[in-house]
Amino acid sequence: MSGLSRILRTLRRSTLQAIPTAICIIVLNFILLQMAPGDAVDVLAAESGAATLEGMAAMRERFGLNAPVIEQLSAYLNRLLHLDLGTSARFGVPIAELIAQRLPRTLLLMALALGMAAIIGVALGAVMSSFAGRLSDRVLSILSLLFYSIPNFWIGLMLIVLFSVKLGWLPSGGSGSIGMGLTGWAALVDQARYLVLPAASLALYYVAIYARLTRAAMLEVRAQDYVRTAQAKGLPPLVVNVHHILRNALIPITTMAGMHVGAMLGGAVVVETVFSLPGLGRLAFEAVLGRDIQVLLGILLLSSFFVIVMNALVDLLHTFLDPKIGVH
Protein backbone atom coordinates (compact mmCIF):
# COMPACT_ATOMS: atom_id res chain seq x y z
CA MET A 1 0.00 0.00 0.00
CA SER A 2 2.01 2.91 -1.24
CA GLY A 3 1.43 6.38 0.16
CA LEU A 4 0.77 7.87 -3.25
CA SER A 5 -1.98 5.42 -4.14
CA ARG A 6 -3.71 6.12 -0.83
CA ILE A 7 -3.57 9.86 -1.50
CA LEU A 8 -4.92 9.44 -5.03
CA ARG A 9 -7.70 7.21 -3.77
CA THR A 10 -8.66 9.75 -1.13
CA LEU A 11 -8.63 12.56 -3.69
CA ARG A 12 -10.81 10.57 -6.04
CA ARG A 13 -13.25 9.71 -3.28
CA SER A 14 -13.45 13.32 -2.08
CA THR A 15 -14.09 14.56 -5.60
CA LEU A 16 -16.78 11.97 -6.24
CA GLN A 17 -18.49 12.93 -2.99
CA ALA A 18 -18.21 16.64 -3.69
CA ILE A 19 -19.93 16.65 -7.09
CA PRO A 20 -23.49 15.81 -5.94
CA THR A 21 -23.06 18.11 -2.95
CA ALA A 22 -22.05 20.95 -5.25
CA ILE A 23 -25.03 20.31 -7.56
CA CYS A 24 -27.45 20.31 -4.63
CA ILE A 25 -25.99 23.57 -3.38
CA ILE A 26 -26.32 25.21 -6.79
CA VAL A 27 -29.97 24.17 -7.08
CA LEU A 28 -30.66 25.38 -3.55
CA ASN A 29 -29.07 28.68 -4.42
CA PHE A 30 -31.28 29.02 -7.42
CA ILE A 31 -34.40 28.24 -5.38
CA LEU A 32 -33.48 30.92 -2.87
CA LEU A 33 -32.97 33.33 -5.74
CA GLN A 34 -36.47 32.58 -7.02
CA MET A 35 -37.99 32.94 -3.57
CA ALA A 36 -36.82 36.50 -3.13
CA PRO A 37 -39.81 38.86 -3.17
CA GLY A 38 -39.16 41.64 -5.61
CA ASP A 39 -35.79 41.83 -7.24
CA ALA A 40 -32.81 44.07 -7.55
CA VAL A 41 -34.64 46.17 -10.11
CA ASP A 42 -37.34 47.00 -7.55
CA VAL A 43 -34.70 48.10 -5.08
CA LEU A 44 -32.91 50.25 -7.67
CA ALA A 45 -36.19 51.73 -8.75
CA ALA A 46 -37.17 52.50 -5.19
CA GLU A 47 -33.81 54.11 -4.52
CA SER A 48 -33.75 56.30 -7.58
CA GLY A 49 -37.44 57.01 -7.13
CA ALA A 50 -37.74 58.05 -10.74
CA ALA A 51 -37.83 54.77 -12.67
CA THR A 52 -40.70 54.22 -15.07
CA LEU A 53 -42.43 50.89 -15.53
CA GLU A 54 -40.98 50.66 -19.04
CA GLY A 55 -37.52 51.34 -17.74
CA MET A 56 -37.90 48.63 -15.10
CA ALA A 57 -39.13 46.12 -17.67
CA ALA A 58 -36.15 46.89 -19.85
CA MET A 59 -33.81 46.37 -16.95
CA ARG A 60 -35.50 43.05 -16.10
CA GLU A 61 -35.07 42.01 -19.72
CA ARG A 62 -31.42 42.93 -19.54
CA PHE A 63 -30.86 40.96 -16.31
CA GLY A 64 -32.88 37.99 -17.68
CA LEU A 65 -35.48 38.15 -14.95
CA ASN A 66 -38.55 37.58 -17.12
CA ALA A 67 -37.92 34.10 -18.58
CA PRO A 68 -39.68 30.89 -17.28
CA VAL A 69 -38.13 29.21 -14.22
CA ILE A 70 -36.60 26.22 -16.03
CA GLU A 71 -35.07 28.49 -18.63
CA GLN A 72 -33.70 30.70 -15.89
CA LEU A 73 -32.21 27.63 -14.14
CA SER A 74 -30.49 26.42 -17.29
CA ALA A 75 -29.29 29.92 -18.01
CA TYR A 76 -28.05 30.10 -14.41
CA LEU A 77 -26.18 26.80 -14.73
CA ASN A 78 -24.76 27.84 -18.06
CA ARG A 79 -23.46 31.07 -16.60
CA LEU A 80 -21.96 29.26 -13.61
CA LEU A 81 -20.06 26.99 -15.97
CA HIS A 82 -18.44 30.10 -17.39
CA LEU A 83 -17.70 31.32 -13.86
CA ASP A 84 -20.23 34.07 -14.41
CA LEU A 85 -22.17 34.83 -11.24
CA GLY A 86 -24.13 37.60 -12.90
CA THR A 87 -23.84 41.34 -12.60
CA SER A 88 -24.58 43.14 -9.41
CA ALA A 89 -27.58 45.35 -10.04
CA ARG A 90 -26.42 47.61 -7.27
CA PHE A 91 -22.71 47.94 -7.94
CA GLY A 92 -23.01 47.54 -11.69
CA VAL A 93 -19.97 45.26 -11.65
CA PRO A 94 -19.78 41.51 -12.40
CA ILE A 95 -20.29 39.68 -9.10
CA ALA A 96 -17.39 37.33 -9.72
CA GLU A 97 -15.12 40.35 -10.01
CA LEU A 98 -16.51 41.90 -6.82
CA ILE A 99 -15.92 38.68 -4.91
CA ALA A 100 -12.45 38.17 -6.35
CA GLN A 101 -11.48 41.63 -5.11
CA ARG A 102 -12.70 40.95 -1.59
CA LEU A 103 -11.78 37.29 -1.18
CA PRO A 104 -8.03 37.57 -0.39
CA ARG A 105 -8.59 39.78 2.66
CA THR A 106 -11.15 37.34 4.11
CA LEU A 107 -8.91 34.36 3.46
CA LEU A 108 -6.02 36.12 5.16
CA LEU A 109 -8.18 36.97 8.17
CA MET A 110 -9.45 33.40 8.42
CA ALA A 111 -6.01 31.87 8.02
CA LEU A 112 -4.64 34.09 10.78
CA ALA A 113 -7.54 33.35 13.11
CA LEU A 114 -7.45 29.62 12.36
CA GLY A 115 -3.71 29.47 13.00
CA MET A 116 -4.00 31.36 16.28
CA ALA A 117 -6.98 29.30 17.42
CA ALA A 118 -5.39 25.98 16.52
CA ILE A 119 -2.06 26.64 18.23
CA ILE A 120 -3.44 28.21 21.40
CA GLY A 121 -6.47 25.93 21.57
CA VAL A 122 -4.60 22.64 21.16
CA ALA A 123 -1.94 23.77 23.65
CA LEU A 124 -4.59 24.75 26.22
CA GLY A 125 -6.49 21.52 25.66
CA ALA A 126 -3.34 19.44 26.10
CA VAL A 127 -2.61 21.21 29.38
CA MET A 128 -6.19 20.76 30.55
CA SER A 129 -6.24 17.05 29.78
CA SER A 130 -2.91 16.50 31.55
CA PHE A 131 -4.27 18.10 34.69
CA ALA A 132 -7.81 16.78 34.32
CA GLY A 133 -9.87 17.27 37.44
CA ARG A 134 -7.34 19.54 39.13
CA LEU A 135 -7.58 23.26 39.80
CA SER A 136 -5.74 24.41 36.66
CA ASP A 137 -8.06 22.29 34.53
CA ARG A 138 -11.13 23.65 36.24
CA VAL A 139 -10.05 27.28 35.85
CA LEU A 140 -9.16 26.78 32.18
CA SER A 141 -12.41 24.89 31.60
CA ILE A 142 -14.49 27.76 32.96
CA LEU A 143 -12.40 30.22 30.94
CA SER A 144 -12.90 28.25 27.74
CA LEU A 145 -16.60 28.03 28.46
CA LEU A 146 -16.64 31.82 28.78
CA PHE A 147 -14.75 32.33 25.50
CA TYR A 148 -17.23 29.96 23.96
CA SER A 149 -20.12 32.19 25.06
CA ILE A 150 -18.92 35.59 23.81
CA PRO A 151 -20.31 36.92 20.52
CA ASN A 152 -17.34 37.71 18.29
CA PHE A 153 -18.66 41.09 17.14
CA TRP A 154 -19.07 42.19 20.74
CA ILE A 155 -15.59 41.13 21.82
CA GLY A 156 -14.34 42.98 18.72
CA LEU A 157 -16.03 46.16 19.88
CA MET A 158 -14.71 45.73 23.41
CA LEU A 159 -11.18 45.22 22.07
CA ILE A 160 -11.61 48.45 20.10
CA VAL A 161 -12.67 50.24 23.29
CA LEU A 162 -9.63 48.93 25.14
CA PHE A 163 -6.83 48.92 22.55
CA SER A 164 -7.89 51.76 20.24
CA VAL A 165 -9.99 54.16 22.28
CA LYS A 166 -8.42 53.85 25.73
CA LEU A 167 -4.84 52.72 25.04
CA GLY A 168 -4.49 53.91 21.45
CA TRP A 169 -2.18 51.00 20.55
CA LEU A 170 -3.97 49.60 17.53
CA PRO A 171 -6.23 51.01 14.81
CA SER A 172 -9.96 50.53 15.28
CA GLY A 173 -10.75 49.62 11.70
CA GLY A 174 -9.82 49.74 8.05
CA SER A 175 -7.20 47.76 6.22
CA GLY A 176 -4.05 49.86 6.16
CA SER A 177 -2.70 53.35 6.56
CA ILE A 178 -3.50 55.29 3.42
CA GLY A 179 -1.22 57.86 1.85
CA MET A 180 1.89 57.10 3.85
CA GLY A 181 3.58 55.33 0.94
CA LEU A 182 4.77 52.46 3.08
CA THR A 183 6.73 49.70 1.35
CA GLY A 184 8.31 46.35 2.16
CA TRP A 185 8.59 45.38 5.81
CA ALA A 186 6.98 48.56 7.07
CA ALA A 187 3.91 47.97 4.91
CA LEU A 188 3.64 44.42 6.14
CA VAL A 189 3.81 45.51 9.78
CA ASP A 190 1.25 48.20 9.05
CA GLN A 191 -1.09 45.66 7.48
CA ALA A 192 -0.58 43.29 10.40
CA ARG A 193 -1.50 46.04 12.90
CA TYR A 194 -4.88 46.31 11.21
CA LEU A 195 -5.45 42.56 11.35
CA VAL A 196 -4.49 41.84 14.97
CA LEU A 197 -7.79 42.81 16.58
CA PRO A 198 -10.09 41.27 13.94
CA ALA A 199 -8.15 38.01 13.94
CA ALA A 200 -8.14 37.90 17.75
CA SER A 201 -11.91 38.55 17.91
CA LEU A 202 -12.56 35.80 15.41
CA ALA A 203 -10.10 33.38 16.99
CA LEU A 204 -11.34 33.61 20.58
CA TYR A 205 -14.42 31.44 20.04
CA TYR A 206 -12.36 28.84 18.18
CA VAL A 207 -9.64 28.82 20.82
CA ALA A 208 -12.37 27.69 23.20
CA ILE A 209 -13.70 25.10 20.76
CA TYR A 210 -10.29 23.59 20.02
CA ALA A 211 -9.29 23.60 23.67
CA ARG A 212 -12.44 21.72 24.66
CA LEU A 213 -12.13 19.34 21.72
CA THR A 214 -8.49 18.62 22.42
CA ARG A 215 -9.18 18.02 26.09
CA ALA A 216 -11.99 15.59 25.36
CA ALA A 217 -10.11 13.80 22.58
CA MET A 218 -6.95 13.42 24.65
CA LEU A 219 -8.86 12.12 27.66
CA GLU A 220 -10.55 9.61 25.40
CA VAL A 221 -7.21 8.47 23.96
CA ARG A 222 -5.61 8.41 27.39
CA ALA A 223 -8.00 5.64 28.39
CA GLN A 224 -6.95 3.43 25.45
CA ASP A 225 -4.99 0.24 25.99
CA TYR A 226 -2.05 1.32 23.82
CA VAL A 227 -1.33 4.24 26.13
CA ARG A 228 -0.92 1.76 28.96
CA THR A 229 1.39 -0.23 26.66
CA ALA A 230 3.48 2.89 26.09
CA GLN A 231 3.71 3.46 29.84
CA ALA A 232 4.62 -0.17 30.42
CA LYS A 233 7.52 0.33 28.00
CA GLY A 234 8.92 2.90 30.41
CA LEU A 235 8.56 5.89 28.09
CA PRO A 236 8.72 9.32 29.77
CA PRO A 237 5.44 11.25 30.17
CA LEU A 238 6.26 13.82 27.47
CA VAL A 239 6.82 11.11 24.84
CA VAL A 240 3.64 9.33 25.89
CA ASN A 241 1.66 12.56 25.78
CA VAL A 242 2.91 13.79 22.43
CA HIS A 243 3.73 10.65 20.42
CA HIS A 244 0.96 8.45 21.63
CA ILE A 245 -1.88 10.55 23.04
CA LEU A 246 -1.83 13.83 21.11
CA ARG A 247 -0.83 12.10 17.88
CA ASN A 248 -3.97 9.95 17.99
CA ALA A 249 -6.16 12.76 19.29
CA LEU A 250 -5.26 14.84 16.22
CA ILE A 251 -7.56 12.66 14.11
CA PRO A 252 -10.84 13.69 15.79
CA ILE A 253 -9.51 17.23 16.33
CA THR A 254 -8.85 17.82 12.63
CA THR A 255 -12.20 16.29 11.70
CA MET A 256 -14.01 18.77 13.90
CA ALA A 257 -11.76 21.64 12.87
CA GLY A 258 -12.66 20.95 9.24
CA MET A 259 -16.33 21.07 10.10
CA HIS A 260 -15.92 24.50 11.65
CA VAL A 261 -14.47 26.17 8.57
CA GLY A 262 -17.94 27.11 7.30
CA ALA A 263 -18.93 28.56 10.65
CA MET A 264 -15.70 30.55 10.78
CA LEU A 265 -16.53 32.09 7.44
CA GLY A 266 -19.82 33.24 8.92
CA GLY A 267 -17.91 34.70 11.86
CA ALA A 268 -15.61 36.56 9.47
CA VAL A 269 -18.68 38.25 7.94
CA VAL A 270 -19.62 39.84 11.25
CA VAL A 271 -16.08 40.64 12.34
CA GLU A 272 -15.30 42.38 9.05
CA THR A 273 -18.40 44.48 9.57
CA VAL A 274 -17.13 45.55 12.98
CA PHE A 275 -13.64 46.46 11.79
CA SER A 276 -14.65 47.85 8.37
CA LEU A 277 -12.32 45.37 6.64
CA PRO A 278 -13.02 45.36 2.91
CA GLY A 279 -13.51 41.60 2.67
CA LEU A 280 -16.24 39.21 1.66
CA GLY A 281 -18.14 39.79 4.87
CA ARG A 282 -18.21 43.51 4.39
CA LEU A 283 -19.48 42.88 0.86
CA ALA A 284 -22.22 40.67 2.29
CA PHE A 285 -23.17 43.39 4.73
CA GLU A 286 -23.41 45.97 1.94
CA ALA A 287 -25.46 43.51 -0.11
CA VAL A 288 -27.84 43.02 2.83
CA LEU A 289 -28.32 46.75 3.17
CA GLY A 290 -28.95 47.07 -0.56
CA ARG A 291 -31.09 43.87 -0.68
CA ASP A 292 -28.79 42.69 -3.47
CA ILE A 293 -29.71 39.02 -3.20
CA GLN A 294 -27.64 38.09 -6.27
CA VAL A 295 -24.45 39.20 -4.59
CA LEU A 296 -25.42 37.41 -1.37
CA LEU A 297 -26.09 34.19 -3.26
CA GLY A 298 -22.81 34.54 -5.10
CA ILE A 299 -21.06 34.77 -1.75
CA LEU A 300 -23.01 31.82 -0.39
CA LEU A 301 -22.14 29.72 -3.44
CA LEU A 302 -18.49 30.62 -3.38
CA SER A 303 -18.12 30.09 0.35
CA SER A 304 -19.83 26.70 0.06
CA PHE A 305 -17.32 25.68 -2.58
CA PHE A 306 -14.58 26.95 -0.33
CA VAL A 307 -15.90 24.66 2.45
CA ILE A 308 -15.95 21.73 0.00
CA VAL A 309 -12.31 22.35 -0.87
CA MET A 310 -11.38 22.64 2.80
CA ASN A 311 -13.15 19.36 3.56
CA ALA A 312 -11.18 17.65 0.82
CA LEU A 313 -7.99 19.05 2.31
CA VAL A 314 -8.95 17.69 5.72
CA ASP A 315 -9.59 14.29 4.13
CA LEU A 316 -6.15 14.46 2.60
CA LEU A 317 -4.63 15.42 5.93
CA HIS A 318 -6.31 12.37 7.42
CA THR A 319 -4.55 10.03 5.04
CA PHE A 320 -1.34 11.23 6.66
CA LEU A 321 -2.68 11.07 10.21
CA ASP A 322 -4.58 7.80 10.06
CA PRO A 323 -2.96 4.82 8.31
CA LYS A 324 -6.32 3.03 8.15
CA ILE A 325 -7.82 5.57 5.74
CA GLY A 326 -7.65 4.88 2.02
CA VAL A 327 -7.12 1.14 2.40
CA HIS A 328 -9.77 -1.44 1.75
Partner: protein
Amino acid sequence: MRLPFFRNEPPTPYDMAAANLSNRELRLFLTNPNAVVGLGILASVALLALLAPALYPGDPLSVVAEPFLWPGQDWAYPLGTDALGRDVMAGALHGARISLYVGLAATIVGFGIGLLVGASAGYFGGRTDAALVKLIEVFQTLPNFVLVVVIVAVLEPTPTVVAVAIAIVSWPTIARLARAEFRSIRERDYVTAAHSLGCGSIHIMGREILPNALPPLIVTSSIMVASAILMESGLSFMGLSDSNIISWGSMIGAGREFIRTAWYLTALPGIAIVLTVLALNMIGDGLNDALNPRTQND
Protein backbone atom coordinates in the same frame (compact mmCIF):
# COMPACT_ATOMS: atom_id res chain seq x y z
CA MET B 1 -15.09 7.49 38.08
CA ARG B 2 -13.90 4.54 36.04
CA LEU B 3 -12.56 1.22 37.10
CA PRO B 4 -11.39 -0.13 33.77
CA PHE B 5 -9.61 -3.16 35.16
CA PHE B 6 -12.54 -5.06 36.55
CA ARG B 7 -14.72 -7.07 34.25
CA ASN B 8 -18.04 -7.67 35.96
CA GLU B 9 -18.37 -6.39 39.42
CA PRO B 10 -18.38 -2.58 39.56
CA PRO B 11 -20.69 -0.96 37.01
CA THR B 12 -19.09 -0.25 33.65
CA PRO B 13 -19.46 3.25 32.15
CA TYR B 14 -22.06 1.73 29.87
CA ASP B 15 -24.06 0.67 32.90
CA MET B 16 -23.80 4.08 34.39
CA ALA B 17 -25.19 5.64 31.24
CA ALA B 18 -27.92 3.10 31.55
CA ALA B 19 -29.19 4.13 34.94
CA ASN B 20 -32.75 5.36 34.84
CA LEU B 21 -33.00 9.01 34.05
CA SER B 22 -35.29 10.13 36.82
CA ASN B 23 -33.12 9.65 39.89
CA ARG B 24 -29.42 9.22 39.60
CA GLU B 25 -28.85 11.42 36.57
CA LEU B 26 -30.97 14.22 37.92
CA ARG B 27 -29.10 14.06 41.22
CA LEU B 28 -25.75 14.10 39.42
CA PHE B 29 -26.89 17.08 37.38
CA LEU B 30 -28.17 19.03 40.37
CA THR B 31 -25.01 18.47 42.41
CA ASN B 32 -22.82 19.80 39.61
CA PRO B 33 -21.82 23.35 40.62
CA ASN B 34 -21.55 24.54 36.99
CA ALA B 35 -25.01 23.28 36.19
CA VAL B 36 -26.54 24.87 39.29
CA VAL B 37 -24.96 28.26 38.58
CA GLY B 38 -26.07 28.02 34.95
CA LEU B 39 -29.61 27.08 35.92
CA GLY B 40 -29.69 30.01 38.38
CA ILE B 41 -28.58 32.55 35.78
CA LEU B 42 -30.92 31.18 33.13
CA ALA B 43 -33.87 31.14 35.53
CA SER B 44 -33.20 34.80 36.45
CA VAL B 45 -32.97 35.83 32.80
CA ALA B 46 -36.17 33.95 32.00
CA LEU B 47 -37.97 35.50 34.98
CA LEU B 48 -36.89 39.02 34.00
CA ALA B 49 -37.97 38.36 30.43
CA LEU B 50 -41.39 37.20 31.62
CA LEU B 51 -41.76 40.18 33.95
CA ALA B 52 -40.53 42.75 31.41
CA PRO B 53 -44.02 43.83 30.27
CA ALA B 54 -45.02 44.29 33.92
CA LEU B 55 -41.86 46.06 35.07
CA TYR B 56 -41.48 48.23 31.98
CA PRO B 57 -44.90 48.51 30.39
CA GLY B 58 -45.05 50.36 27.12
CA ASP B 59 -42.67 50.43 24.21
CA PRO B 60 -39.02 50.07 25.23
CA LEU B 61 -38.19 52.06 22.11
CA SER B 62 -39.90 55.21 23.36
CA VAL B 63 -37.86 58.18 24.49
CA VAL B 64 -38.12 58.64 28.25
CA ALA B 65 -35.26 60.83 29.44
CA GLU B 66 -32.31 62.90 28.29
CA PRO B 67 -29.79 61.04 26.12
CA PHE B 68 -26.44 59.58 27.21
CA LEU B 69 -27.18 59.12 30.91
CA TRP B 70 -24.42 56.81 32.19
CA PRO B 71 -25.34 53.81 34.33
CA GLY B 72 -25.86 54.89 37.92
CA GLN B 73 -26.10 58.55 37.02
CA ASP B 74 -29.83 58.61 37.55
CA TRP B 75 -31.25 55.67 39.53
CA ALA B 76 -34.55 55.96 37.76
CA TYR B 77 -32.60 54.57 34.80
CA PRO B 78 -30.15 52.16 36.47
CA LEU B 79 -28.43 51.20 33.22
CA GLY B 80 -28.57 54.71 31.75
CA THR B 81 -30.12 55.95 28.51
CA ASP B 82 -29.01 55.74 24.90
CA ALA B 83 -28.34 58.35 22.24
CA LEU B 84 -32.05 59.10 21.86
CA GLY B 85 -32.83 59.00 25.57
CA ARG B 86 -34.36 55.49 25.65
CA ASP B 87 -34.10 53.46 28.86
CA VAL B 88 -31.34 50.82 28.47
CA MET B 89 -32.76 48.67 31.29
CA ALA B 90 -36.16 48.47 29.60
CA GLY B 91 -34.41 47.54 26.37
CA ALA B 92 -32.31 44.85 28.03
CA LEU B 93 -35.34 43.20 29.65
CA HIS B 94 -37.47 43.29 26.53
CA GLY B 95 -34.47 42.13 24.49
CA ALA B 96 -34.24 39.02 26.67
CA ARG B 97 -37.68 37.98 25.40
CA ILE B 98 -36.51 37.96 21.79
CA SER B 99 -33.26 36.12 22.56
CA LEU B 100 -34.99 33.40 24.53
CA TYR B 101 -37.86 33.09 22.07
CA VAL B 102 -35.57 32.74 19.06
CA GLY B 103 -33.21 30.40 20.95
CA LEU B 104 -35.97 28.06 22.08
CA ALA B 105 -38.05 28.14 18.91
CA ALA B 106 -35.04 27.52 16.67
CA THR B 107 -33.92 24.61 18.84
CA ILE B 108 -37.33 22.97 19.03
CA VAL B 109 -37.82 23.13 15.26
CA GLY B 110 -34.21 22.14 14.55
CA PHE B 111 -34.37 19.27 17.04
CA GLY B 112 -37.56 17.96 15.48
CA ILE B 113 -36.21 17.99 11.92
CA GLY B 114 -32.83 16.64 13.01
CA LEU B 115 -34.28 13.78 15.03
CA LEU B 116 -36.63 12.74 12.26
CA VAL B 117 -33.94 12.78 9.58
CA GLY B 118 -31.18 11.31 11.76
CA ALA B 119 -33.31 8.54 13.25
CA SER B 120 -34.64 7.44 9.84
CA ALA B 121 -31.18 7.47 8.31
CA GLY B 122 -29.58 5.56 11.16
CA TYR B 123 -32.35 3.03 11.64
CA PHE B 124 -33.25 2.17 8.06
CA GLY B 125 -29.76 2.39 6.61
CA GLY B 126 -29.18 1.53 2.95
CA ARG B 127 -30.48 3.95 0.35
CA THR B 128 -32.57 5.99 2.77
CA ASP B 129 -29.41 6.55 4.75
CA ALA B 130 -27.34 7.46 1.70
CA ALA B 131 -29.89 10.04 0.53
CA LEU B 132 -30.39 11.61 3.95
CA VAL B 133 -26.66 11.71 4.64
CA LYS B 134 -26.21 13.61 1.39
CA LEU B 135 -28.87 16.07 2.51
CA ILE B 136 -27.15 16.52 5.86
CA GLU B 137 -23.83 17.00 4.09
CA VAL B 138 -25.23 19.70 1.80
CA PHE B 139 -26.55 21.67 4.75
CA GLN B 140 -23.32 21.25 6.64
CA THR B 141 -21.33 22.51 3.69
CA LEU B 142 -23.33 25.72 3.40
CA PRO B 143 -21.74 28.19 5.82
CA ASN B 144 -24.31 28.52 8.59
CA PHE B 145 -24.34 32.20 9.25
CA VAL B 146 -24.13 33.20 5.58
CA LEU B 147 -27.12 30.98 4.82
CA VAL B 148 -29.12 32.47 7.67
CA VAL B 149 -28.29 35.96 6.40
CA VAL B 150 -29.46 35.00 2.91
CA ILE B 151 -32.69 33.39 4.11
CA VAL B 152 -33.58 36.31 6.35
CA ALA B 153 -32.68 38.78 3.61
CA VAL B 154 -34.80 36.89 1.07
CA LEU B 155 -37.79 36.65 3.42
CA GLU B 156 -38.45 39.23 6.11
CA PRO B 157 -36.62 39.72 9.41
CA THR B 158 -39.38 38.82 11.89
CA PRO B 159 -38.37 36.83 15.01
CA THR B 160 -40.18 33.73 13.72
CA VAL B 161 -38.43 33.85 10.34
CA VAL B 162 -35.13 34.30 12.13
CA ALA B 163 -35.89 31.30 14.35
CA VAL B 164 -36.84 29.12 11.40
CA ALA B 165 -33.76 30.22 9.45
CA ILE B 166 -31.56 29.28 12.40
CA ALA B 167 -33.39 25.95 12.69
CA ILE B 168 -32.70 25.29 9.01
CA VAL B 169 -28.96 25.63 9.56
CA SER B 170 -28.76 23.89 12.93
CA TRP B 171 -30.75 20.68 12.41
CA PRO B 172 -27.83 18.83 10.76
CA THR B 173 -25.95 18.72 14.09
CA ILE B 174 -28.81 16.84 15.74
CA ALA B 175 -29.36 14.72 12.64
CA ARG B 176 -25.74 13.55 12.52
CA LEU B 177 -25.73 12.72 16.19
CA ALA B 178 -29.11 10.96 16.08
CA ARG B 179 -27.99 8.99 13.04
CA ALA B 180 -24.81 7.83 14.75
CA GLU B 181 -26.69 6.82 17.91
CA PHE B 182 -29.46 5.00 16.05
CA ARG B 183 -26.93 3.23 13.85
CA SER B 184 -24.91 1.95 16.76
CA ILE B 185 -27.81 1.12 19.08
CA ARG B 186 -29.57 -0.68 16.21
CA GLU B 187 -26.80 -3.29 16.41
CA ARG B 188 -27.17 -3.94 20.15
CA ASP B 189 -28.43 -7.33 21.19
CA TYR B 190 -31.51 -5.94 22.91
CA VAL B 191 -32.69 -4.54 19.61
CA THR B 192 -32.04 -7.89 17.93
CA ALA B 193 -34.02 -9.46 20.77
CA ALA B 194 -36.89 -7.06 20.10
CA HIS B 195 -36.81 -8.02 16.41
CA SER B 196 -36.84 -11.69 17.27
CA LEU B 197 -39.85 -11.14 19.55
CA GLY B 198 -41.65 -9.64 16.58
CA CYS B 199 -41.62 -5.93 17.53
CA GLY B 200 -42.31 -3.48 14.72
CA SER B 201 -40.12 -0.62 13.53
CA ILE B 202 -42.09 2.06 15.36
CA HIS B 203 -41.87 0.21 18.66
CA ILE B 204 -38.16 -0.42 18.20
CA MET B 205 -37.34 3.15 17.20
CA GLY B 206 -39.50 4.75 19.87
CA ARG B 207 -39.30 2.41 22.84
CA GLU B 208 -36.00 0.55 22.44
CA ILE B 209 -33.63 2.95 20.69
CA LEU B 210 -34.83 6.49 21.37
CA PRO B 211 -34.59 6.42 25.20
CA ASN B 212 -30.98 5.29 24.88
CA ALA B 213 -30.14 7.74 22.10
CA LEU B 214 -31.62 10.72 23.90
CA PRO B 215 -28.89 11.71 26.42
CA PRO B 216 -26.32 13.05 23.93
CA LEU B 217 -29.11 14.75 21.97
CA ILE B 218 -30.32 16.54 25.10
CA VAL B 219 -26.80 17.77 25.81
CA THR B 220 -26.44 19.08 22.28
CA SER B 221 -29.80 20.80 22.30
CA SER B 222 -28.85 22.99 25.26
CA ILE B 223 -25.78 24.10 23.32
CA MET B 224 -27.99 24.65 20.26
CA VAL B 225 -30.08 27.15 22.22
CA ALA B 226 -26.88 28.97 23.12
CA SER B 227 -25.61 29.15 19.57
CA ALA B 228 -29.04 30.20 18.27
CA ILE B 229 -28.98 33.14 20.67
CA LEU B 230 -25.48 34.04 19.45
CA MET B 231 -26.63 33.88 15.83
CA GLU B 232 -29.72 35.97 16.46
CA SER B 233 -27.61 38.63 18.16
CA GLY B 234 -25.23 38.67 15.18
CA LEU B 235 -28.14 39.09 12.77
CA SER B 236 -29.76 41.93 14.65
CA PHE B 237 -26.35 43.54 15.11
CA MET B 238 -26.03 43.58 11.32
CA GLY B 239 -29.46 45.16 11.06
CA LEU B 240 -31.26 42.00 9.99
CA SER B 241 -34.03 42.23 12.54
CA ASP B 242 -37.44 43.76 12.90
CA SER B 243 -36.66 47.42 13.56
CA ASN B 244 -39.81 47.74 15.71
CA ILE B 245 -38.68 45.10 18.18
CA ILE B 246 -35.74 45.76 20.45
CA SER B 247 -33.12 43.05 20.83
CA TRP B 248 -29.70 42.83 22.45
CA GLY B 249 -27.94 42.64 19.10
CA SER B 250 -29.70 45.70 17.72
CA MET B 251 -28.86 47.63 20.92
CA ILE B 252 -25.18 46.81 20.35
CA GLY B 253 -25.50 47.79 16.72
CA ALA B 254 -27.03 51.14 17.68
CA GLY B 255 -24.55 51.80 20.48
CA ARG B 256 -21.61 51.07 18.22
CA GLU B 257 -21.63 54.52 16.65
CA PHE B 258 -20.96 56.08 20.04
CA ILE B 259 -18.28 53.62 21.06
CA ARG B 260 -15.72 56.38 21.71
CA THR B 261 -17.93 58.38 24.05
CA ALA B 262 -20.59 56.04 25.44
CA TRP B 263 -19.12 52.56 25.30
CA TYR B 264 -21.51 51.32 27.99
CA LEU B 265 -24.22 51.25 25.31
CA THR B 266 -22.27 48.46 23.60
CA ALA B 267 -20.95 46.77 26.71
CA LEU B 268 -24.18 46.25 28.67
CA PRO B 269 -26.31 44.33 26.16
CA GLY B 270 -23.20 42.29 25.31
CA ILE B 271 -22.83 41.27 28.93
CA ALA B 272 -26.47 40.17 28.90
CA ILE B 273 -25.77 37.95 25.88
CA VAL B 274 -22.60 36.50 27.39
CA LEU B 275 -24.34 35.68 30.69
CA THR B 276 -27.29 33.98 29.03
CA VAL B 277 -25.17 32.00 26.59
CA LEU B 278 -22.68 31.08 29.33
CA ALA B 279 -25.52 29.84 31.52
CA LEU B 280 -26.78 27.59 28.72
CA ASN B 281 -23.31 26.25 28.02
CA MET B 282 -22.78 25.53 31.73
CA ILE B 283 -26.06 23.65 31.78
CA GLY B 284 -24.91 21.74 28.70
CA ASP B 285 -21.66 20.79 30.43
CA GLY B 286 -23.53 19.69 33.54
CA LEU B 287 -25.92 17.61 31.46
CA ASN B 288 -22.99 16.07 29.64
CA ASP B 289 -21.30 15.06 32.88
CA ALA B 290 -24.54 13.62 34.21
CA LEU B 291 -25.79 11.85 31.09
CA ASN B 292 -22.59 10.76 29.34
CA PRO B 293 -20.24 9.53 32.04
CA ARG B 294 -18.00 8.13 29.30
CA THR B 295 -16.54 11.57 28.70
CA GLN B 296 -15.87 12.18 32.36
CA ASN B 297 -12.32 12.29 33.57
CA ASP B 298 -10.93 9.74 36.02
